[in-house]
Amino acid sequence: MPLIDIRHLTHRFADGTLALDDIDLAVEAGAFVLIAGANGSGKTTLLRHLNGLLRPTAGSVHIDGVPVTRDPQRARRRVGLVFQDVDTQIVGETVADDAAFGPENLGLPRPDIEARVTAALEAMDLAAAADMPPHLLSGGQKRRLAIAGVLAMDPAVIAFDEPFSNLDYPGVRSVLRRMIDLRAAGKTLIVTTHDLDKVAAHADRLLVLAHGRLVLDGPPGACMDDIERYGIRQPCSYRFGGRLESWLN
């Protein structure tokens, strides 16, 4: 049974815009899936269906075989979502407070919350900043804090919405390195992006959305020749060398 099973998912917004159109998709545990597409292609809408922030107009999303609409809180424990605008995701006055927000919502005993916060901050290399106000962090640190906040809830899947937007080169490398670590630790990663350059070399599957439809699905290397017709630029390393290179090299 796939960890994520999406069947005929369609989403139409109140103004009539068709954001997702009959999406069928299965994701196995431990996969690293990239979802690419131009602006407005439906990437963020798709992510928001994974933990029940949106309800399907038609079709269904199952996590571990359980429909998300039946138990959205369970879906939120299983799928952590890191938003594109991390400033709106951070609610604590200190780094540690913010990382504790999710575990506190789970109603865990205080020692368990503290253990999870410590582990998540260490995994994201933020332990030394535990007592700092989040607004003093750099862009890359804020993104890592948002990941720590999700990680502290111990989800099976971490979904990243444009995780590299507004980050400088060191910030991109720092976040990318943590994503690789999370994957090695057994997490399933789903990453939306319109810029494949930074991450395509690490993914094992690439999905391309265009106007709400799933138009490409396969290993990243096999999809690259067709990708520019959907408004996504080929990575430089592929364009000039015919292969995908990691930004961590």
Binding site: L53, Q89, V91, E93, D97, G102, G107
Partner: protein, 249 residues
């Protein structure tokens, strides 16, 4: 981004930071009530209490004054308006301003400032979770009031006032950069500023709500336990004595 605002929570270990948040709220209520009925001598006592609090909390006075500049300008305008509208012996014969009007206006402004500084002391030294837990504790015995929901709303409002002020400054800077000064109509300038600020604030609050739901927000959270000590009672007794003296003087 550097410092967000002097009004925002500032991590610290001062006596005020360590004071039980339930006591802080009761002290704020006591001093607020005393301020409403205090004469100038009483206001001086309460002002001394607030200044001692600001010093104890180590809040930066210059930054605080800069953040409060719009309020100070508004209070000065109100005091001036009262001077010109309340009848009485003229302050300076060529000007139609009365001495009693100016005194009443100044006392009104003084009262507002004492209450505002009390609120700042609360917000700058209290974490959101602590404020939320204290409000919930104080409201729980009140029948018909959803204590935890109200506590969450109060906590989020206090948490995001500095953020809204920051957004207001950003909008003002952006409009200045686009030559808003050339617009001679102050009402139009005000409208343009408020319209953009409202739109940004509402959008951010939408994103925040989504992020909180995504992180499993629930009213039955595992909040940190509150604990009062003998020192807290001493601070409360001091504030109560000052409030009583302010009313009686």
């Amino acid at each position: 981004m550097a410092e967000l605002s002097a009004i925002a929570f500032r991590p610290g270990s001062s006596r005020l930071h360590r004071l039980d948040p339930r006591f802080k709220i009761v002290i704020l209520a006591l001093t607020g009530a005393a301020t409403a009925s205090a004469a100038p001598v009483g206001l001086a006592i309460l002002s001394a209490l607030m200044l001692a609090g600001l010093r104890a909390a180590r809040l930066p006075p210059r930054r605080l004054l800069a953040d409060l500049r719009p309020l100070l300008i508004m209070l000065a305008a109100v005091a001036a308006l009262r001077a010109f509208t309340i009848p009485g012996p003229p302050l300076w014969p060529p000007l139609p301003a009365s001495r009693p009007g100016l005194v009443q206006g100044a006392i009104f402004a003084w009262r507002v400032l004492v209450v505002v500084f009390g609120g700042i002391l609360l917000s700058a030294t209290t974490r959101t979770w602590a404020l939320r837990a204290a409000v919930a504790w104080l409201l729980t015995p009140v029948p018909g009031v959803p204590a935890r929901r109200v506590a969450t709303m109060v906590g989020m409002v206090v948490r995001f006032i500095p953020e809204v002020l920051h957004q207001a400054a950003l909008v003002r800077e952006a409009q200045q950069a686009r030559g808003i000064a050339a617009c001679r109509n102050p009402l139009r300038r005000l409208y343009l500023w408020i319209a953009v600020l409202m739109r940004r604030t509402l959008l951010k609050s939408d994103h925040l709500a989504l992020a909180m739901i995504s992180r499993g927000y629930s009213e039955n959270r595992a909040d940190q336990p509150l604990a009062a000590g003998p020192g807290d009672a001493a601070v409360l007794a001091l504030a109560a004595a000052a409030s009583l003296a302010a009313v009686l003087c």
